[in-house]
């Protein structure tokens, strides 16, 4: 790296620090805060990378009321990100099995993110014999009313993983990332600091209407808006497709060959952007989300500057745990929160190898 490394820190803490600093002054104190964190020792950095994903989860003390549960989960699109969530769900299911409680579930998604497809799946699930129906909201404007209707019909509905329903939706609980806006702010702040708070940037978003993607894009836009010498010259949706992200980045680079940076708001964005940047030999700095193996390799090579890694495993694990409680008729409160927050950790080039090893056994 050509400048002091920035270290990982649970994004909530960093977001709180940023917000606190922003309240005090309009100056880029958040950036100064981040630079200060680069003084962490290598051991602490490795420990931070390891704690980015908690593979040692165990069920809490809650005793389920039944010995069998059947759930239905649907998410935005078929993608490795949700495969990682699935692993956490399977671990929770296995631990319940050890306690003599059988949990069966469906975990389905379309090839392309689509609120219409998601609506169909939810309506179909409503016809099935499921204790709880969970959804990763593809488009809050379309899906939230449907969820309200399902709840009114007596269905136990929850949201999970990356996107919650709209504010005021009657879904029972949400397990997942509750700080997507802040993720967008943090990534953009890192980019601004890298670019010395000046230059042209593009924003790649995932699916139209997907709350998590839109929130991050909002966070990015608000942050760029703070700096007079920075400008967003393009904003595109890749619809969670790497190929589309690649094509869009090439198009943006063609239109703006002097582009200085790209803010990527989902998992497919940074992969497609990095491919295009490499191919077109651009110097644009990429910041993005998630743990895609190819993206981590680009991070290793320095093509991507930093990535926000979410703890998908814990999201999956807590989703099953919360679903069991909801199925038993429990309400958010002491047993589980209405919104279960999961951490995001920003990682840099020097963290990439360890993350690749942890998540993909890269040395294999």
């Amino acid at each position: 790296m050509d400048e002091p490394a920035r270290r990982k820190r649970p994004i909530l803490l960093r977001a709180a620090a940023l917000l606190f600093a922003a309240c005090l002054s309009a100056a880029p104190t958040g950036a100064a805060e981040e630079t200060g964190s680069s003084q962490e020792a290598p051991e602490a950095a490795a420990s931070s990378v390891r704690s980015a994903v908690d593979f040692d989860r165990e069920l809490d003390d809650y005793t389920p009321l039944k010995d069998h549960y059947n759930f239905y989960f649907t998410y935005k699109t078929v993608h490795a990100w949700w495969d990682a969530v699935a692993l956490g769900m399977e671990e929770a299911q296995r631990q319940y099995l050890d306690k003599g409680i059988t949990i069966t579930y469906e975990y389905m998604a379309p090839d392309m993110a689509s609120a219409r497809d998601q609506s169909k799946r939810l309506l179909l699930a409503e016809q099935g014999d499921y204790d709880v129906i969970g959804v990763d909201v593809a488009d809050e404007a379309i899906i939230s009313p449907l969820l309200d209707e399902m709840v009114e019909d007596g269905e136990k509905v929850m949201t999970f993983s990356s996107s919650d329903a709209a504010e005021g939706c009657k879904r029972i609980a949400y397990v997942g990332n509750t700080h997507n806006y802040e993720d967008g702010v943090l990534l953009t702040e890192a980019l601004c600091e890298k670019l010395d708070y000046k230059g042209k940037v593009a924003v790649l978003v995932g699916s139209v209407g997907a709350p998590c993607h839109e929130d991050r894009a909002r966070g990015a836009a608000d942050t760029i808006g703070k700096y007079g010498d920075m400008e967003i010259v393009a904003r595109e949706y890749d619809m969670d497709s790497v190929d589309k992200a690649y094509e869009l980045t090439k198009k943006i680079l063609t239109e703006h060959p002097d582009l200085d940076g790209i803010i990527c708001c989902n998992m497919s964005n940074p992969v497609g952007a990095a491919r295009a940047i490499t191919e077109m030999e651009s110097n644009a700095v990429i910041v993005g989300m998630d743990h895609d193996q190819e993206a981590l390799r680009y991070l290793t090579d320095g093509v991507i500057y930093c990535l926000g890694v979410q703890d998908c495993y814990s999201i999956g694990f807590d989703t099953i745990q919360t679903a069991v409680k909801i199925a038993d008729g429990q309400s958010p409160g002491e047993l589980f929160p209405e919104k279960t927050d999961e951490i995001t950790t920003i990682i840099y080039q020097e963290d990439a190898a360890l993350m690749l090893e942890l998540l993909y056994g890269e040395s294999l």
Binding site: V78, D83, L87, Y107, M108, L359, S363, L364
Partner: protein, 497 residues
């Protein structure tokens, strides 16, 4: 000129010879122990490689057998499921559960044409999760290693089932997963702190999470070996891994030799690696070897000490022999001397002895070391007549009788035969003191013998006086007196010649 070998030369030769022999024995012992150690190391290395190759081969075969038997079980499972009337997802989950239990299969799953995966507990969209589903149409069996997002590492065995329909849906594939931890448990053996194994991917990554000895431990094999091997050798082994070939590597870390053998596992991209720490075997063999060497050293030391003792004994004996030889030579010399000084006929000392004695006495006279000395000169009467008339044998007999008579009466003196019929007696000490009595007794006997026709000896005597310069002076006076006596005896009837 011939060099004379002295006793010192002999001793030096013996000492140097013994030292050289000891040195040779020690050098031979050292050389043979070095050869033994070297040969042992070579043997250990050869045995290690052979042992490891055999071990790796056997374990690779075990995994291959497990894979083949799992494929067989999957075939049986499909036949079983096909026979059942599966109408709902619940039916399918139930039957998959039964089959898993019956056939001891781990995570058996069916996949439909839409890449929906059906397992015992879950149904999920699996296109991005399972590598083998990336192909539109599966052609053949597929074996892949699954390690995703921190999950446990699995070996995934998949078979295409294009003609299989269930719940009205055409199926694409059936797969089962084998947890690598189960494979590790199956392969586990008694490490004894010296033998290790691990499963590795084509690029040398550790799949089994087993430590391959203290040096490599859980690291990538080639990364760990980089400091110990040349780039060429490392590259050769990398190629072997990539091409699914077998081989072995020996390296040393901190003076400890380690050998590992790798063997490809058929149907997979894996290599099984078995490592043995030669130091452990070496230590055991060295212990045995050292015992043998110690025993050999003791034997050598014992031999050396024995040789040394023998050499010392031989030297001492040699000295004793030499000494006794000298003694014997001295004795012989003495005998010869005695023989030279003795009269063969009478056994008394001869004229030569008398001359030696006379010389010694002359020196004493000269040095005034002697005062009392008497000389008696004796002559046998009638010897010539006996010789002439009765023969020399009778003459000799007469001489012996005369000698015996002289010796009898002058028993305290030294008797010498100084001529054919002439004797001399030297008297000192007691002999000198009794000389007069002895002369008188002798003369009486001589006179008596005339009448008896026995041996008659004429004697004259004289003693050393102050004017005498030598024994001869005394002798001459005694000799003169002897002639006088001879005349007297003749007159008494004795034979004179």
């Amino acid at each position: 000129m011939k060099k004379k070998i002295t006793e010192t030369t002999f001793v030096i030769t013996a000492v140097i010879g013994s030292f050289l022999i000891m040195l040779l024995v020690m050098v031979n012992t050292f050389s043979s122990s070095k050869q033994t150690v070297s040969a042992t190391n070579e043997a250990v290395s050869a045995v290690s490689s052979f042992y490891l190759e055999a071990m790796a081969d056997r374990r690779a075969q075990t995994i291959s057998n497990l894979i083949n038997s799992t494929f067989d079980e999957m075939g049986k499972a499909l036949a079983f499921i096909e026979e059942e009337h599966v109408e709902t997802q619940d039916d399918l989950r139930s039957i998959i559960g039964k089959v898993e239990s019956l056939l001891s299969l781990n995570r058996l799953a069916l996949v439909d044409q839409d890449d929906i995966v059906y397992t015992r507990y879950t149904t999920y969209t699996g296109r991005t999760r399972h590598e083998f589903l990336s192909e539109e149409v599966m052609q053949d069996r597929m074996i892949s290693t699954v390690y995703f997002y921190g999950s446990s590492k699995q070996l995934c065995l998949a078979i295409p089932i294009p003609d299989f329909t269930i719940m009205g849906k055409p199926m694409k594939a059936c797969f089962a997963q084998i947890d690598i931890r189960d494979i590790v448990n199956l392969l586990a053996f008694d490490y004894q702190g010296s033998t290790y194994f691990g499963l590795y991917s084509k690029n040398g990554g550790n799949i089994s999470d087993t430590d391959l000895g203290p040096v490599i431990a859980g690291q990538n094999l080639f990364d760990a070996l980089e400091p110990y091997l040349t780039e060429d050798i490392l590259s050769m082994h990398r190629d072997n891994f990539a091409n699914g070939a077998e081989g072995d590597i020996t390296y040393a870390s901190d003076g400890v030799a380690e050998t590992l053998a790798y063997f490809p596992i058929q149907g997979t991209d894996w290599e099984i690696v078995v490592l043995i720490r030669e130091s452990v075997i070496n230590d055991q063999i060295r212990e045995i070897s050292e015992k043998n060497l110690s025993s050999s050293r003791k034997q050598t030391a014992f031999t050396l000490i024995a040789a040394l003792v023998l050499a010392v004994v031989l030297l001492l004996e040699s000295r004793m022999i030499a000494k006794s030889k000298i003694e014997a030579e001295k004795e012989t010399s003495k005998t010869f001397k005695t023989m030279a000084n003795t009269d063969a006929m009478t056994g008394v000392r001869n004229k030569h002895a008398y001359a030696e004695q006379e010389a010694a006495l002359n020196q004493q006279i000269k040095d005034h070391e002697i005062e009392k000395l008497g000389v008696v000169v004796c002559d046998i009467n009638g010897l010539k007549t006996v010789n002439d008339t009765l023969g020399h044998a009778e003459g000799d007999k007469l001489i012996k009788e005369a000698c015996a008579l002289i010796c009898k009466y002058f028993s305290h003196g030294a008797v010498f035969r100084i001529g054919g019929d002439e004797f001399a007696v030297l008297l000192k000490g007691e002999g000198y003191d009794l000389m007069t009595e002895d002369i008188e007794a002798f003369n009486r006997k001589a006179e008596a013998n005339i009448a008896e026709d026995a041996v008659v000896v004429s004697v004259g005597y004289a003693t050393l006086n102050a004017e005498d310069r030598q024994v001869r002076d005394v002798f001459d006076r005694a000799d003169q007196m002897m002639y006088e006596r001879k005349k007297e005896l003749k007159e008494m009837g004795a034979r004179t010649r």
